[in-house]
Amino acid sequence: MIRGRFGNTSEAPFLEARVFFPRLNIRGLVSFLVDTGADGTVFMPMDSRKFGINFSTLRNPRNPEGIGGIARAFREMAVLSFSDNRYVYSYHVPVHIMVPTAHNLRFTSLIGRDILRCGNVVLDIQNKKMTLTPRTWSLRQKI
């Protein structure tokens, strides 16, 4: 069972993951907002800038839609890894890397249903408990 956390004031659920972009050979760690409303995983500018992603190297432009309207993004294959201290579970999925704007630098990256549907998710806001119990994965390795 992978344990997430709840923000103290926001009460928003977060899950920490290691992210690896094989084509770009870039890796790092990200605290994702758990978003059951997101079709897929979204990498926001706060994290793409932290990782030093060069947007001129990105391909596959996309226009994801949200409550703020239509945004600009690039689709890139990534490996997201999580740990429950017994195994490392890895998921090879496409993620949307959002193009920076004047308004989106402070937004956190989102983990969407592409990952969440691979297990049982518990979001217990009153008891501040967020867990993901994986049922399927791209790769599972014993620690």
């Binding site: 956390r5 103290n8 977060f14 920490e16 706060m46 294959m77 740990s83 195994y87 890895s90 790769l139």
Partner: protein, 91 residues
């Protein structure tokens, strides 16, 4: 979801688990120490690494520069803006 061959992660499961443990500890500081962060770093960007605030700055760019100067990898740190306003977010 595509299958993934062993050895395609660039690091061993042990290394990945260790990084995730340290990063999760750092992330929990955001959850547990929010009042202190607001008091000490209002309207600043902070980089949390190895369980403590390792750098802070007024801009994101300045924070990254500070961290790199101190030999810390921003990729392995949790970076957040300490917002004192009560924004209503719909993501």
């Amino acid at each position: 979801m595509r299958p993934l061959a062993k050895g395609k992660l660039g690091e061993s499961p042990k290394q990945i688990a260790r990084q995730l443990r340290a990063f999760s500890r750092a992330a929990r500081i955001l959850s547990s120490n929010r009042p202190r962060l607001i008091e000490e770093h209002p309207k600043e960007w902070v980089g949390i690494y190895d369980g403590k605030v390792s750098a802070s700055a007024k801009s994101f760019k300045a924070l990254l520069a500070k961290m790199r100067k101190r030999g810390l990898s921003p990729n392995d740190a949790i970076i957040r803006y300490i917002d004192t306003s009560e924004r209503f977010l719909v993501l």
